[in-house]
Symmetry: C2
Subunit: 223 residues, 2 copies
């Protein structure tokens, strides 16, 4: 068993890492960050040492309680089961289903289609107009997910994604909205998403975990 603090392998800009950072902040779990720069040196996630830790070559990875967990939602569900306060899943199974449905919509229906490694591959396949193709690809992935999400939220949301408590779904929403902003997505069709995002960004846990305030945030991007 590991005696010290949990260790989070993270990249400041990774939306998947941000999800976990919010969970750790909300639950008040002290941890150490080991930055993995996904761009520098051709991508530090491809180093031999990191691959031995996470064969998927992705962040986040969390070392905690003597085990190593990959995949943001698996990490958050583990934290929820072992550190249940404050809860990130409602008690009612039907509401829990809504939370997981929205979380999965974002983590398997949107983010994987617009992440760095896929955009690289799209660029390789398209050859000409590389950057324009990558931007359009990312925008399409996000807007087709957000079109669905906006509609779903209209029946699940209260103050936040599902009712009036912060849940795992909110931990997925905010980082995905940040990605959408980076890819210059037009938010006019998404008033519900925008409004919930704004409310969440006012909470301290979403601020301390923000990409602009991480140990590995470059000086020029700090806020």
């Amino acid at each position: 068993m590991q005696a010290g603090k949990p260790i989070l392998y993270s990249y400041f800009r990774s939306s998947c890492s941000w999800r976990v950072r919010i969970a750790l902040a909300l639950k008040g779990i002290a941890y150490e960050t080991v930055p993995v720069n996904l761009i520098k040196d051709g991508g530090q996630q491809f180093s031999k040492d990191f691959q031995a830790l996470n064969p998927m070559k992705q962040v986040p990875t969390l070392k905690i309680d003597g085990i190593t967990i990959h995949q943001s939602l698996a990490i958050i569900e583990y934290l929820e089961e072992t550190r249940p306060t404050p809860r990130l899943l409602p008690q009612d199974p039907k509401k829990r289903a809504s939370v997981r449905m929205i979380s999965d919509l974002i983590t398997s229906g949107i983010q994987p289609l617009q992440n760095l490694s896929i955009l690289k591959k799209v660029g390789e396949v398209s050859k000409d107009l590389r950057e324009e193709t990558q931007l359009t690809w990312a925008q399409n992935a996000i807007t087709s997910g957000f079109n669905a999400l906006e509609q779903i939220l209209q029946s699940t949301a209260g103050k936040y994604c599902v009712g009036d408590e912060v849940t795992m779904a909110d931990l997925c929403l905010v980082p995905q909205v940040a990605n959408a902003e980076r890819f210059k997505v037009d938010f006019t069709p998404y008033p519900t998403i925008s409004c919930i995002n704004k409310r969440l960004l006012a909470l301290e846990a979403f601020q301390v975990s923000h990409p602009c305030r991480q140990p590995d945030t470059p000086t020029e991007l700090r806020a």
Copy 2:
């Protein structure tokens, strides 16, 4: 509240639908299938009626207990919480974390990158050698996930993906292996995946839920 049997909106060949069909079979839950043909009529998931049901225009969707759930893992977790026998998640939180990690690796790290709608988009972007590019794209998505999975399974697997009990991870594995076979992936580097897959396919729940035995399976593909 809905009085009748649960209704599963499913497509025989959809690997995400198959995951849920295995869960329903293992838990002995009787249900009705409403087939949604993802190819016919330009894709029945794009019909106005289906979009009203599932704005993501994807299968599976399950109507159960008066609610409608999308996303295969959200559905399986709901079934697990409301119909816990036989369990698809171990009792130990650390083992549950392994099950969810493997499930998420497949459902967000592999499947979304090789599904029908993405391959269509890859074809549109690449223009020339469309089919060859799509095949290579799908193979790369699967092998890079399977390379990681094979390594992870070496520390988690017993008879099945995590220990000796069938878990949610196994429900994700078998349909993904079937996709890999369809895309002619070479299984030589994946002895653990192959071996677990073979054991699982011998179980009745994996057989009755198989794409070759669904109400919407075309006659020529029946077995």
